[in-house]
Symmetry: C4
Subunit: 443 residues, 4 copies
């Protein structure tokens, strides 16, 4: 039709039919003019056949109808903008889809009413977070690519042996791994029990040692060690010592094999589970080296303590521990807030208690830093009772500290707890899906 016909038609009609995907909407022409920059506003001002077809898919002047091949639901919402100049969100439409439609119709998202503006942003953030978390979780349980060479096939076998638990050998390996972790921790714990300790030679001079042992026949082990500090020492039982070596051998073997078979070395070294594995074996070898230095006593002690961190190797076998790690790393801001709240509380209450108690109770509240312990033990409601206030003011401060502790610690812990819940359920769901996929692959 000629531009004139179009103009005539438009001016003759009060209303216009907008056919969106088969759903026919009617609206006054003048209302469309209220938003001139949008697609429909442009339609109102379009004067030629070409202009119109650029805006819509099809139209008919006789029916006074313009056809758009888009989804009708979101459009129904958007059309209200022309009528009431207000744009509200509908619960039912996925926010991503809605934004796509807004773009098509040339409507700016800032025209949303304030009450829905907030909602839009929240839901968009939510979706972005979900997708991001999703990809990270996939990274953890994700599939690894191996090459096709023979060596690669062996590598894949070794890798699957330690990573999966579908076949019997894989399950046995998993069980052994778990067994040695528990054995190792048990060994360390038992090695400190006095009844399981024995008297050993400290000096390299064997005869001096034998002489010393002979001299201390009627003493307890500790007395003997004290009597001949140069020659004798109280050691862990030799069986525990040997068990420890067995564990270390397994851990070392496991780590080396895994490192050798890892399809993606950088990812292997970045993985925190592997870092824990390394921490579990390194101290032993460092001790072996350091034992030749006389002055390394203190360091050896520390290395011995570090052995306890092997317990974190359990994370490889427990979704719960992995979720804990995941939560802590992703809630580091919330953990920071928790520590900050606690720190602020501890500093304030220990300072107040110190000033209140220092005259009457200076042995317990010796200085502000000494009072930190009391303040934290009170705020966490542990309340050992080894340090208690004795003055009225001190008692009032400890009452306030107790209540503040309850309130202030509950706040960030609530957030962290929520995060953990989400991660844990997500992880469980992913694992289930992954396992289902794996089992289908087996057949």
């Amino acid at each position: 039709p000629t531009p004139q016909a179009i103009l005539d038609n438009k001016s003759r009609q009060k209303r216009v039919k907008i056919n969106v995907g088969g759903e026919k909407h009617e609206i006054l022409w003048e209302n469309l003019g209220k938003q001139p920059d949008t697609r429909l506003g442009q339609l109102k001002n379009a004067r030629s056949h070409e202009e119109i077809l650029e805006l819509c898919e099809d139209y008919s002047l006789e029916d006074n109808e313009y056809f758009f091949d888009r989804q009708p639901k979101a459009f129904a919402i958007i059309l209200n903008l022309y009528r009431t100049s207000k744009l509200h969100l509908a619960e039912e439409i996925c926010v991503v889809e809605f934004l796509d439609e807004l773009e098509y119709w040339g409507v700016d998202e800032h025209q949303l009413d304030p009450c829905c503006q907030l909602k839009l942003q929240q839901r968009r953030d939510q979706i972005n977070d979900d997708v991001k978390k999703d990809s990270e979780l996939l990274f953890i349980v994700g599939e690894d690519e191996f090459g096709d060479s023979n060596l690669d096939k062996i590598k894949k076998h070794i890798w699957d042996l330690f990573e999966k638990s579908l076949t019997l050998p894989q399950r046995i390996t998993g069980f052994l791994s778990l067994f040695f972790i528990l054995l190792s921790v048990l060994t360390l714990s038992l090695s400190t029990v006095p009844d399981l300790q024995e008297l050993g030679c400290k000096s390299t001079n064997q005869s001096a040692c034998v002489y010393a042992v002979a001299q201390t026949q009627n003493m307890t082990m500790t007395e003997a060690a004290d009597a001949y500090p140069e020659e004798l020492e109280v050691k862990e039982h030799y069986v525990l010592d040997e068990l420890e070596i067995v564990c270390i051998v397994w851990f070392t073997l496991e780590y080396l094999l895994r490192m050798f078979a890892a399809p993606n070395k950088p990812k292997f070294f970045r993985g925190w589970l592997n870092t824990i594995d390394l921490i579990a074996i390194l101290p032993f070898y460092v001790s072996l080296f350091l034992v030749h230095f006389d002055t390394a006593g203190r360091v050896l002690q520390v290395l011995r303590v570090i052995r306890i961190l092997r317990i974190f190797k359990l994370a490889r076998h427990s979704t719960g521990l992995q979720s804990l790690g995941f939560t802590l790393r992703h809630s580091y801001q919330n953990l920071g807030v928790l520590l900050l709240f606690i720190a602020v509380g501890v500093i304030i209450f220990s300072a107040l208690a110190y000033f209140a108690e220092r005259d009457d109770n200076s042995r317990n509240f010796e200085s502000i830093p000494h009072s930190f312990y009391w303040a934290l033990i009170t705020m966490t409601t542990v309340g050992y009772g080894d340090i208690v206030p004795t003055t009225i003011i001190g008692k009032i401060i400890s009452m306030v500290a107790g209540v503040c502790g309850l309130v202030v610690i509950a706040l960030p812990v609530g957030i962290i707890s929520n995060n953990f819940q989400l991660f844990y359920e997500e992880q469980k769901r992913k694992e289930k899906a992954f396992k289902r996929r794996k089992e289908m692959e087996k057949f």
Copy 2:
């Protein structure tokens, strides 16, 4: 119409009307071609009258309209896939229904946009869980089927007597059952109170006993028992002893009758409420048997302690306790996580504290296993204060342990608490529905 007419018609028209249950959608023919494997894609390529009628219920070439007798709401969403190649979920449609529709239209569920993919899976899991839980709860409160013989009628009467509380006799039985549970627990508790104990004969030699009693006239009961360890012992009061026997008689009777009347024996023996009933009476009979052996003293003690487990018989009378049991059994993974977290925390902190304190405070932190107690009492924030650190490092460790305890225990407890809440409300609702049904049956 001839295939030629169909082809002509299709090529003449730019758009097509899809009538789904009366709702008319319009879309460009070319858009339908984007998804050739789906029902609508096949429609585009259909060439004969028969082919078309296999895909839709009815059509008319003049109106250019194809009729499908399906629900229009889900279709509106699915149609967008052809326009934007994106498929989003709508909040308003039940996910089970939506999947049915996807299948009808030949659309794969994996074509959902990532943002909605997650939602779909969550809701489907949710529904599956709900349905599964539902059926389990029904199992507990469910109806039992009895036969029609006279014996079966008696059995049904006995069974209802113990299981329901609709008629007066049933209520009385319920009350008696509750009364004897409480009486039994009270008896056990009171039997340990020194003021309610009495001096009794241990030896079977009566005259020796009488003599011993005569000799210990001015002593306390404990002294007397110590003076004549062979002849005398401090026993619970004979009234308590008799009450205990009355309770046992009732419990035995109840159990036997219930076992006799149970309509479904395997289910009866699998039920954990019945297992508790058995545990409540067995120790008594085992003791009766064991008392003839001199060396059974230790075992008798243990059997005596087990009597306290009768308190769990209360579960039959309390929805709360049943929900607790239900929650614990269904949250066993979460409980495992809780125990694992606690175990890891306890082992780490007790090891650290042991190494920090062993020189200055070796009496309290004797070894790592001995320090477990301190670590757990600190992490649960009980904090008795009987074992406290004395070194600076030890104090810092106990501060960290307290904070970690708060955080780490809060995480799984939050999940378990949510589970409990859901179970408990569900159970309450079910019970209400069940009771309503029962009461309607009475009339």
Copy 3:
């Protein structure tokens, strides 16, 4: 039209148009026959003009259209039942409305799919609960009706004086009421402080008292009271005594005036706030009466203690306390569960601890009932530390008790806490609405 015309028309047409409130649905006639008992099933089988008009509002054989004047949204869902034999709930429709529509269309609600069955029941329960709670809350903040006589007007003035806080006199009364509650509690607290006590005459024999006072010049008050137990006693300071009487006078006056002015006497006596008011004054008058009996010493003590319950009079001035009361009364089942859990835990752990500790630590774990205190103090994580286990088994039991306490107490407290939150917010909202209405009435 004749029945024949109707039948002909039906058999000629494959589909039928159902016009529900202007929305036209199309469906195959045969599908309607699947549910013959419903309104549409009956429509299929209707044979005469009259029958049809009984089922729908209007119809036209030419258009093959039947008109129903109902809402189209719920119908769209219901129509699916004919197509797929499945009925699903839509999120968007209020459940009450949906049930109304189901009834109109003659569809039984049990035809809902299991996945939506649950949802329906939950939402219906929810709505019923909300409405019930609502009416109860209205009862509390609700309006009272007074008559029109002069006496009634005075009564209304007095009533408003104590119940509302819109005008200045009303606010002053409210402030005075609050002031006297706090004063009364303060008086009771201070009267127990030794420094604020004084020596008073116990005997009615004045001269004996004066003599006794003279003899005890150099003693402390307690010593004096002990030396002349018949004549002297340590009393609260006379000023506190007088303040107490002032408070009692106010409370009595307030109660009598409120009772006199109450528009609804039964409601007045049923109200628990008024019962608290009564409890706050009764003990005083009972003491006045009992003081003439020599043997009433013990009862007088108890009456004195009961005075502390006056603090609950604060509930009249605090939404928080009212919500607490409301929560406790409506969560009595949950409180019962909490107490039951605690009771079960306490009994089990105290029995176990008693048997574990009685040989080594019989002074602390003297009997099971004596151990209740230890068990509860451990389970609530208060952990005073005055009673601690000394044996290994006892320590393990207390560790388990601590963890169980944390878990088991968290479960019902979570539910109660949620209830409180709901009540409190509801109450706040109601109060705001009520206040707004009141303030509008003033103008």
Copy 4:
């Protein structure tokens, strides 16, 4: 058309078509008459062309159709009111939008069904709250307006230096500010450690001081200070003293510069972050002044304690602390409820415990106010154990107090915790949005 034609038409037709934005609804004329005050009710009674056009945009008697240029979705819901006399809310429509539509159609919102009435009010309150909170948060992170003069430009530079962290100088300033806060708190803490204190001159008489020092050569610092109380005192180390002065100089400078540069002075003085800054420096200057008065010892002590409040200056650098402050100020009602609950509990339990324990344990439970400490330490589950009940009744009371403490404190803390969570997430979101905007401005 003439009024007669309109009337004729209306009486001829049983139904009417209501075209709302293209969606055609049909309804019986008589149903429209049920709500005569609404727009549609008036339409039914409208008799002339003009009257009708006042109510709707367009109409056609032939089609029996009336056109309204409004959104169809809300109308579908509203139309049900005419059919069933019930008005229900739809989940999917924004409540603000729905109210607008209700107004247009002349329907009163009180005609909503009770089940939806509640929902409406909740959602409206929610939206109002959200918008209000939003504007307050904007106030905090909001933009400040500066003039265009040169001085204003300098001011803006200074202001940005302290308020923002986009450029390097701004980051350095922020880091310095943080550093001095921590240094200051550290200084105060360390100054109380005995090992870091030194003996200083108290008297202005130098020679007396020197003499005193000479005399006390072999004494500890404390002994020396005690021996010559007029001349000597134990002071903080002079380095700490100097560090404190450096911090004060920085804080003063910062405060003055910020005050000078503040674009909006009233807002500056109202801001609580700035008040904290003032509190952080004032005590020092007041001490400087007061030190000249001999009798100011006590006040000086208090001023020294107040220095610890500087830790709150951290709030400027931590979203968490700001959210805490924000939460506490907006949850003041909930905090009030918490304190009230605690106060009521403390008063009741301390009174009960006092009456139970005063005879056997009067040293610990000396009076009701003295027992407050015990009651609160029990209710918060801190449980130091320095004061424990010894009587049976006292033990029962402390058990009840422990359980009540757990329950009663959990209730308001739950609400406060929820509030904090909302504020914190909101704040984080705002900050992110603000930062994004800022960074876009830089380019």
